[in-house]
Structures are given as structure tokens and as C-alpha cells.
Amino acid sequence: MADNSDPNAPWKTLSGLGTSGLTALLFLYFLQFLAPVAAGEPVRFVWDWIPSLDVSLSFYIDGLSLMFALLITGIGAMVMLYAAKYLAGHHHYDRFALYLFSFMLSMLGLVLADNLIALFVFWELTTFTSYLLIGFLHLDPKSRRNALQALLLTATGGLAMLAGFILIGITQGTFELSELNAAGSLADQPFYLLILILVLAGAFTKSAQVPFHFWLPNAMAAPTPVSAYLHSATMVKAGVYLLARMHPSLSGSDVWVWTLSIFGAVTAVFASFMALRQTDLKQTLAYTTLMALGTLTMFLAGSTGYAITAAMTFLLVHSLYKAGLFLMIGVVDHGTGTRDANVLGGLKASMPITAAAAAAAGLAMAGIPPFLGFIAKEVAYAGALEMHLWLFVVPMSLIAFALMFAVAGIVAYKPFYGPQGQLPREPHEGPWPMLLGPVVLGVLGLLFGLLPGISAYYLIEPAVAAVMGEPDTGGRVKLWAGFNLPLLLSLITFGLGFLLYQRHLALRERLAQIEARAADLDAGWDRLLDHFVTYTKAQTRLIQTGVLRQYMFATFAVFAATVLVTLIARDVGGIALQFAGLSFMEWGVALLIVAGTVLVVLTSSRIVGLVALGVVGIGVALIFIMFSAPDVAITQLLVELLVVVLLAMAFLKMPNLDPSGSQSHSFPNAVLAVTVGVLTTIVVLLVVDQPFDRRLTDFFEAASWTEAFGRNIVNVILVDFRTLDTFGEIAVVAVAALGAFALLKGFARARDTKGGEK
């Protein structure tokens, strides 16, 4: 489904060409690092971010991050240009361009970050921006659901990964990846297993390894440019990037080798069968992406030169051909109105350029010489033969590569040759902004293969060196490596792949039958979410009762418990109560307040309660008068008067305290109240027992006249030294008055206009 309805809509918009141009400029900027990085001189930029937590905004450009940065910006620029045409005239296109550009920047930050915490932040930024992109067609409920699924799954993995990062930071004393990797493997450190599990949880969810794979095909709900970008070079490769980035620190254990080999191999083989089963070409490509991610994970399990070279070469070649194929499918969809493999055929005549670009990408995918894909496959077999688990890895690679050969035929050959099917639209060639990407990517796949020395020196070998932690001079990337076992395996792959392609229609039916019987993880996900919602509802019912008393009880109980625990933990000794020298008047005032308080609590009459409150207030004012605070006492008296008047006015129109005659007294409440009261007394006594710090008071006393020219120190503080506080206080009163006015007048009017209901 092409989302643009109007082929003549203007597409040369600022948001389209601007983002694409900026991204292309970034690509050019990163090109300048090729030579120094290839010469073994990584570049590092550091800005302090949260120094107190040892978190800095540091960026590191070595072979691995540079290769990713170039892929992200290079493919990004082409995808943005493509999207400008693909979505031209879409009423939310500007929003789309913003999402896509933000995603590109987050991804760039992710691969360049040297600090684990910064890496995590960018990681989650890619999660959020990809959520927005996958759910871009937000009017479609399926699109929203799939976007949310991707968000929840990858963000949960990301949180596990954060826990792993923090563990690394605590145990190793640094969050800088360059320092960690230089220090070598963590395999014999404490917590290694836990760290590994947590980090792998992040990487496997992001890179959609089985059993977390189901979100990726669902994410195809996004417009095609998004799929081309997110599922070729970026988003899903973030997990692979993390595995490669942390390879020096986290590899070197049997757990690493076994986990990555098994998860990777299972994902690769499962996904290639699933790719064969699909009829929607975009879904087919989604599953081949899964297959590629599995293969990459499988080769990152190894630590030998060939295994890592295989991973890096395959990563490069996959990014190029997969982005090209996705974009090509978009062009075909755009030109014919369908993506169904059963319908498409014979488009070569009407779409010659698309056919050529598809052929280049397809040949790279199938691994035909002299494309870079061929070299990747040769190196992959060489790497597989070197691995500890070669008995497992070689056959799995063979199956996966053979299936990929067949899928390449389905995607890149079949739609363009043979008889033309019944198409919804008369096929026509795509416009140039949409053809540029597939053509450039196809040509690059061929050029890199024809010039293996250059691609190895500038791109692959620096990346391998970064992953292995030592300079790489293997010279493994060759178009012709002689007659050897990998070449033999390649030939078997071609034969097997051709057979599979011949029989793919029959095979697809068998696979569909098997799929119908297999457990559906996607539906399981929905059930899991349903259970989660049920659980949270039950929990909310338990905690949020909606009864104010219970909230207050919980609040005061927590307060009492924390104070009590602190007092016990600090082992507070006895407190001496000093009552000596207290006059009759002081005892009298204290007694007055206590008597008033008791009366407020016990009375069931509004008027008695109000009078008792007044007694307490006047008692407090008396304390202020006796102890050198005449200004405070005056204010207290005035406010107390106002409080009593206000309450009296309001209470006149409200019912009595115990309208039904029921006493609202409760023993548990009394126990809690007394506990809080006693604890407060103890805390105040402890505070008063501390040595007194007079520095501030001394300053105010000395400065009151000499600097502020006022003789009443309290007033000087209020209107001079702490004017802002006073201003805030006035603001609070003003806001309270406005609020009260709105409540009493505003609602009254609203009620009147509604015809006096209620």
C-alpha cells in the first residue's frame, strides 16, 4: 500500500530535502575519519555531563562505530530523499521527517557513544523514535498495536541492559567503553554471568533474536522507507552493534560462545524458513533481516579473525542490499499497487532501472561473485570452520545461506521476469528520488566486491580490529581465495539454493501447514498483556481504595515507621527533660493549649470545636509574645481570628460534626496518632539538644541596621533579605484566593446555567 495518493504532489519541501541534505553533510563529515581510523588512530571527544556520577558525554570513533556512522548517514540521506517523494503530499509528512531525522541522530549517538550511560540514553531514544515511526499510520489500530509491542519489548530489554551497565560500572569503576575494552575480558570477574545475561537481554530484544523475534515482522506496519531504514542498517542492528562493541569485554567464556551460537543459529534458520513462507514481499524481507541478525549474532560468538571478519563483512553487505531491496519493493508497490509475490512478474520491461537495481541487490544477497556478498559468504564459511562449535555452525550457515539464495530469487528475480500477472495498476517506472537509493546501493555492493582491498582497508579491517581489540592485518577479504573448503561450500549453497527456489511454491504450502500448528508467540504476547492489565487492575483496587482515611492512614503510618526506624538505627540515647525554672505562666499557657486541643478532638459540636481551636491559637500566640516574638504573635492573633470567622461562616451552612449521631472515634487511629505525636516530641527534643548554629542569626543581627537600615530585624529579613520568600507567600495567598473564588463562584454559575440540577 503506497501511502501517497497524489503522484503530482510537490515533494521538494524543506523538511524533506533539508533533512536529507543535512544527513548527507553528516555523511561527508564522517568520511574524513576514514583515513586516520584505518591507520589505527581512533578519535575521542569528551564533554562532562554528570561528573558526580562519573557519566560523561564521550564519543569514540573507531573502525566499528565509523562503519555504522557511515551506513546510518549514507543510507539515511537516501532514505530521506526517497521518503520525500514516497510520502509527498501526506498531510503529516513534516512530522514524519522530524521523526526520521531524530531517529537518525539517536542512532548516530548510539554507535558513537563511548560512555555506557550515554549509550543507554541514545538506545532508548532510538526505541522511542522508532515507536513513533512504526506507529506513523496511527489511524490503523494494528499499526498502533505493533508499535507498542516493539516499544514494550525493546524498552524492557533496554532496562535490563541498563542494570547490566550499572553493574559493570560498579564492579569495574568506569563507564567508558574504550577503557573497559582495553582492560580485556570480564569473564573471570564476579557478577560476569549476571552482567552477560542482562546485556544480552537488551541486545537480543533489540536485534529480535528468537524468541523475541515477533515484533520485527509486525513492525512492517510502518511505511516502506521506515522499514528500509530501521531494518537494514540501523535500529535492529543496534543489538548486533552492542554485541560487537562489547565483544572484547564480554566474550571469552563458554557461556558467550554457546548462547550466541545457539540463539543466532536458531534465529537464522527459523527466519529463513519463515521468509520462504511469506507471500508479501515486504514480510519476506523482514524475515530475511531476522535471518541476517541471527547470522551476525552467530558469528560474533566466535573470537577468531575469520569469524569476526565474517560478521563485519556480512554486516556491511547486508546493510547495502537490504536497504536497496526494501526501497526497491517500495518502488514496485508504488508502480504496480501490490507486493504479492504470487501476482508480480514480468516487470522488467516496464521498470528497467528498478529491475537492474534489484538484480544487483539480489545477486549480492545470493552471494554471487564478484559481489561483496560472495566474499562475505566465503569468509563466513571460513569463519564457521574455525569456530569451536563448527559441527553445529557450518550446517546451520549452509541452510541459512541456501535459503537466502532462494529468497533472493523470489524477491529480486521473480517479480521482474516471466509472465506478467494481473496487477491493480499499469506498472510504471519510479521517479528518480526513489530510484537513486536502490541504484547507488546496488552499485556499491558491486564496487566493494570488485575492489576488496579498498573496502577491507578502509571499512572492514578497522571494524574487525575494533571488535577484536587488536590491529587486524589478516587480509582475509579476497575475491579469489583459491580452491578451498569455503569455495566448495559456496558451490553446494548455490546448488541447494537453486533447488529450493525451484520448489519454493510447494515448500511454502508445507511451511504454512506447519506454521498453523505451531505455537503463536504473537498471540501469546497479547494474552500476556491482557494478564498484565488484569493484574494491575487488581493491584490498583487493592492499593487505591478511593477512601481518604486509608490514604491518610498509610501516609502517617509510613511517616511513623521511617522516623522510628531511623531513631532505632541511630541508637538515640536518653533525653533529659529540662523543666527547671519554668514560671507559672508558662505552665499555664501550655495547659491552655493542651486543654483546647483535647476539646477539639472530643467535641461533637461545631461551635465548641471552633471555640477550642481559637483557644489553641491564642495559646500559641501567647507563647510567641512571651518568647520575644511580638510580630509573630500579632500575625498569629489576626490569622486565628480570620480562621475562626471563616470556619464559622462555612460551618453554618454545613451539617453538624456527627450528623447521624455515630461517633467517628477509632482505637487504631488513636494509637497511630499518639505514636506520631510522641515521635514528633522526641524529634523536636533531639533537635533542640543539638549544638546551636548561630551564624545566620549573627549575620542578620549585624547587617540589619548597617546594611538594610532597619531596626526590627524580623521585618528586615522579611522585606529585605528574604524578599523573594515574602513575594512567594503573597503569591500563594493570591492563588488560594483565586482558587477559592473560582470554586465558590464559578461552579455556582455553571450549576445555575445547567438549570439548577444537583
Partner: protein, 121 residues
Amino acid sequence: MEALTAIVIGGLTAASVYLMLARNFMRFLFGLVLLSNAANLTIFASGRMTKGHPALVPYGEDAPLGVVGNALPQALVLTAIVIGFGLLAFTLALAFEGYRRMKSVDTDEMRFAEPKEDTTK
């Protein structure tokens, strides 16, 4: 006097907590007033209490003579009293309007935001 004040504060706090746990919203308001008083006394007492010497600078002098009452907590309490009053006035308006709408001062019945129907589902 600090020790005696501490006990008074404890009494005020206990009473306000007890009142704020009651079902009747008017009792809750009483509790709020008492809690405000308790808080003000706490600030006042923790600045130490001096009898009969207000914080004034006599004419002809640059600073107060001898020990005078601590001016800083007094300034803070002054602010706190006024803000406490603002809070009470607003809460009272809320209670009053709540009563007019829901015809009840029983907080168990006043459930505009979290209606009872939800909990029985």
C-alpha cells in the same frame, strides 16, 4: 521552655493526626489548623527560645545589645502562618463546594474522583 514546647507540639500533632484520620471532613479541617500550629511551634522552638528580648536594634546602636530572640525562625514562622492560612482557606472552599455538590461531609462518601463503582468491577 523548649522541652515543654516539644511536649505541646507532640500533643498538637497527635490531635491533628487523629482528626485527619476521621471520616468527617470538618474534623479533617480542624486537624489541618492544629497541624499548622504544631509546625509553626516546631520551627520557632528549634531556633531556641529567648524570654522577653525582641530582636530589635536600639536607636544609636549598630546591633542589638546582648542576647535577643532569634529573628530568623520568627521570619520563617510569619511566612508559614500566612501560607497556612491560604491553604486552609482554599481547603475550606473545597470542602464547602464538595458538600454542596455531594451533600455529604463523610469522606467515605465523597468520591468524585475515584467513584465506588470502579472498585466493585
